[in-house]
Amino acid sequence: MSAHADSLAAAQTVEGYNFAYLDEQTKRMIRRSLLKAVAIPGYQVPFASREMPLPYGWGTGGIQVTASILGACDTLKVIDQGADDTTNAVNIRAFFARTAGVATTTRTEEASVIQTRHRIPETPLTDQQILVYQVPIPEPLRWLEPRERETRMLHALGEYGLMQVSLYEDIAQHGRIAKTYNYPVQVSGGYIMAPSPIPKFDNPKLHRNPALQLFGAGREKRIYAVPPYTDVRSLDFDDYPFDVEHWDTACALCGATDSYLDEIVTDDAGGRRYVCSDSDYCDRRRQAGDTGAAR
């Protein structure tokens, strides 16, 4: 995390606002919540979320976390749907370039802080990196019990029968667990956690990841964390083990068979091709000479 001095030393890029937009008192409050979140993996720490100049639901939680940990020497990468060039990622990256003046990058391994919506990069992360997730609904039990008062109690008691029953009902009805994204996980054998709406394809990357993973939910005013090298288990049953999405095809651009693929509709006659959702991963493979065209 950045030192306080870093923030003060940096020139104010936008007049009238502090380094990285938030005032230092707010950052301190958020850092305290982050410390608590890291100390209790998977526990949703309430924090006094601020109004941000971007709308709720568009990454205000992630932005507040990023703003609080960012120092002048950091290099920031922002992705949405795995890509650096989606409109919201462009907007958030521009926000920090304007308010913090930090270096930005699209290359996963160059970034010290990566803010993400809906994906974990394909390139493995290191213990020198922090991954900040934008979280719409932090409560994994929300769809089973809408009331905060109740869900807090269920977490406190470790009473997760509801969730098990819900997974079982999927199997009874569909012959498999039908959750595809925001697939619930158990952190370090304790709290059940919503990994944010990443596809379940990314869930295995949560497990024992060397990077610090921070989750910010601005509208819902919650922060939680998965410390480096922490066990994260996707919920399943012995006879119905957790499984990820598979494609019969490779990326049409780089030929990758190990990445999450986006489906691109190419004409109105049902034509479609599949390309990597992680644009940096795809670009790097193509630069290295891989091609999907030959396959």
Partner: protein
């Protein structure tokens, strides 16, 4: 060949440019001044101040101009500005009894000390379009002064009931206790009344109106009377630590509504009237009345009433009252969801494949 489906910085820049152009509209029409909005669209300004939770007529008018008149967008702009302001302390509770009243009406008494002061209101208009306003409007003349000038301060209506014990006493004015601050601490449920009154004061007017309306239509057990509605100016006092005494730092316009509601009584309390309270920045009676009705509905639990209606459900009412939160989250559906959607497609295709396979197997067996 593969076409870029993901947006980019250039597209965003162009969109912003188009927005700026659209905001200005036809340059043949005169540019709208912020002062004109402040003075002539005053009720819109009041609403933006109330829901934006910042008393500043100038900035609220600016926000309305910047937002092309979209009230919720203007509220959002004001909130995003407000959040960056340093907090140097809390004002003393304002004394609405000492309000310089411009309008004060009661629906429970025909006449009362201080009288019914109608003030400026749409209530007594016929809703006919005034085509004269299409032409340049001349400044209308002020009405003649009343024979009896409005009293400088006016006692509240409810104190007449208070004296006889017919209405529950107002909660003690405990100035030593710092009230909750929903902008500085996350709300936890169950929330206290100080918390929910703040949230309702910032809450969306349309949402509160609908909830209040629902309590009148049988979803809840409201039997309300508008005990008093008052509009006017009150002084805001502040005690700077270094001075140690109160100084007046501002004068704000407020609308206050005291709603009187029936209460059947319980084992602990005799039958008596109960209170619902509404207070907003500026002139906003619809909001103040709605807030008072919803406040009373939220007190159902404390009063031992049956909880049966949406308006009585604290978490439901409060968690969805903020239009900056609601508008943001509803509209975030415009953001790309390709990844999650792809995940659903993979699952759906697999489920459909299994469905058809199993049907084929069944049919083959028959």
């Amino acid at each position: 060949m593969y076409v870029a489906v993901k947006g980019g910085a250039e597209a965003i820049a162009n969109s912003l440019q188009l927005l700026a152009q659209t905001r200005r509209g036809d340059p043949q029409a005169a540019d709208l001044g912020v002062a004109q909005i402040r003075e002539q669209l005053g009720l819109a300004v009041d609403r933006v101040m109330a829901e934006g939770a910042l008393y500043d007529r100038e900035l609220a008018a600016l926000a309305l101009k910047q937002a092309c008149g979209d009230v919720q967008e203007a509220v959002f702009l004001l909130r995003a500005y407000r959040t960056t302001l340093p907090r140097f302390g809390y004002a003393r509770a304002v004394d609405t009894q000492a309000m310089a009243v411009r309008r004060r009406i009661s629906a429970t008494y025909k006449d009362l000390p201080g009288g019914q002061v109608l003030g400026p209101s749409f209530d007594y208009t016929q809703r006919l379009l005034d085509f004269q306003l299409l032409a340049d409007g001349e400044a209308p003349a002020a009405p003649e002064d009343a024979e009896d000038p409005v009293a400088p301060t006016m006692p509240g209506v409810l104190q007449h009931l208070d004296r006889d014990g017919l209405i529950e006493p107002s909660p003690a004015d405990d100035a030593t206790e710092t009230p909750a601050d929903v902008t500085r601490a996350p709300v936890t449920y169950p929330a206290g009344r100080d918390t929910w009154l703040q949230m309702l004061a910032r809450g969306d007017e349309g949402y509160l109106l609908a909830l209040a309306y629902s309590t009148q239509r049988g979803y809840g057990n409201a039997h309300p009377f508008a005990g008093e509605i008052r509009l006017g100016e009150v002084a805001v006092g502040f005690v700077p630590e270094e001075l140690g005494f109160e100084v007046e730092i501002a004068e704000v316009t407020l609308t206050e509504c005291q709603m009187i509601n029936q209460f059947q009584g319980s084992e602990a309390a005799p039958p008596q009237f109960t209170r619902g309270y509404g207070l907003t920045f500026g002139h906003n009676e619809r909001k103040a009345m709605s807030m008072a009705l919803v406040d009373r509905a939220l007190r159902s639990r404390e009063l031992g009433e049956q909880l049966v209606a949406p308006a009585q459900d604290q978490e439901f009412v409060l968690a969805h009252s903020d239009n900056v939160e609601a508008s943001g989250f509803v509209q975030h559906l415009k953001l790309p969801h390709y990844v999650d959607f792809q995940s659903e497609l993979v699952m759906l295709r697999e489920l459909r494949r299994r469905f058809h396979e199993s049907r084929y197997t069944r049919e083959a067996a028959e």
